[in-house]
Amino acid sequence: LPICPNGSVNCQVSLGELFDRAVKLSHYIHFLSSELFNEFDEHYGQGRHFITRAVNSCHTSSLTTPEDKEQAQQIHHEDLLNLILGMLRSWNDPLIHLASEVQRIKEAPDTILQKAVEIEEQNKRLLEGMEKIVGRIHSGEVGNEIFSQWEGLPSLQLDDEDSRLSAFYSLLHCFHRDSHKIDNYLKLLKCRLIHSNNC
């Protein structure tokens, strides 16, 4: 048999390595989303109380996600993986529009534009990785059922600047929260499945 790069016999990336890379990527994506959210808030949010309109506005709030350690530990790993997959898919479309619509914000600093584009790219990359992981773990076809449709594009294109900026703020606030959930759930799953809860 040909020698594989890391000595594995059947020439494929091990599940442990897939989880390592997924966790490193989800950590990085949340780090980027924190920087983007904070920078946007500093630049456009001061004194405008956007938070009051952002609360309870996330398009993914219809997805039932674990909200404490016990719930997260009780959920079956296949369900939690599917949930992560569903959250990532639900963010694919809004992040594409965020990356393009943010270019039209007046005097938006380059750092905000670059981060919006990179977040969209890395989120797609993490989705690819999660589909690979789920494909490895799930015996059957990768389920497509969990998904939450985003209808927010019109609000990113409103003429009234305050409403439009508030819509951006809410989207960034929601992604900041969801990317943290994804990162947390992945770290939990990695410890459970790869390190038998002994990280």
Partner: protein, 210 residues
């Protein structure tokens, strides 16, 4: 009526429970009773503090069952006495952002002297006992600081999620003070610094760990 109380701090030590403290206003000498009320994002219902005792006076302790993450708590404290009542300003809390762990423990310092290479110092430590890092629910990052005993300035080194660190550039003959603290990987605040550890770097061969 009693003066408006103020909610001064909320903290979670291990990302599973949390506590809030408030400071009473002046009560004009009348026996005054304090009630902590809270509601959660996306819900109309208002709840009362589940436990006023565990965390001492003027506090409310939320155990695991009453602690949710990624959701905003709207918390107020009401002071009531025979003259009337007064409510604090609302305090908004997402427990994800108020995690402040206890300091790391079991800090050990060991001087290694490889044959053909310079001696170096190996530090190891453990996460605070309360923090469940094994399950992956909480991930901690560490930072250490050191300075020569008589030195003024601390040198701080961020070491990420490792619980071991090798120090190469230490001044022979010097006695160093070393401390470590930790923080959740994304949000929350640094713990207090750990207790001080001392180590004497040998000029020659011998070494003494204080």
């Amino acid at each position: 009526p009693p003066e408006k109380p103020t909610i001064i701090k909320c903290r979670s030590p291990e990302k599973e429970t949390f506590t809030c403290w408030w400071k009473p206003g002046s009560d004009g000498g009348h026996a005054t009773n304090y009630t902590l009320l809270y509601s959660k994002e996306g819900e109309e219902q208002v709840y009362e503090c589940p436990d006023y005792r565990t965390a001492g006076p003027n506090s409310c302790y939320f155990d695991k069952k009453h602690t949710s993450f990624w959701t905003i708590y709207n918390i107020t404290v009401k002071a009531t006495n025979e003259m009337g009542s007064n409510i604090s300003d609302p305090h908004y809390v997402d427990v994800t952002y108020i995690v402040q762990p206890d300091p790391p423990v079991n800090i050990t310092l060991e001087l290694k002297k490889p044959i053909n290479r310079k001696p170096y110092l190996v530090l190891t430590w453990s996460p605070p006992p309360l923090a469940d890092v094994r399950s992956g629910w909480l991930t901690l990052e560490y930072e250490l600081r050191l300075k020569p005993e008589e030195g003024e300035e601390w040198e701080t080194i961020f070491v990420g999620q490792q619980t071991q660190y090798k120090m190469f550039s230490l001044n022979p003959g010097k006695k160093y003070i070393i401390q470590i603290h930790c923080k959740p990987d994304h949000h929350g605040s640094w713990s207090e610094w750990s207790s001080e550890k001392y180590i004497q770097i040998p000029t020659g061969e011998s070494v003494k760990d204080m």
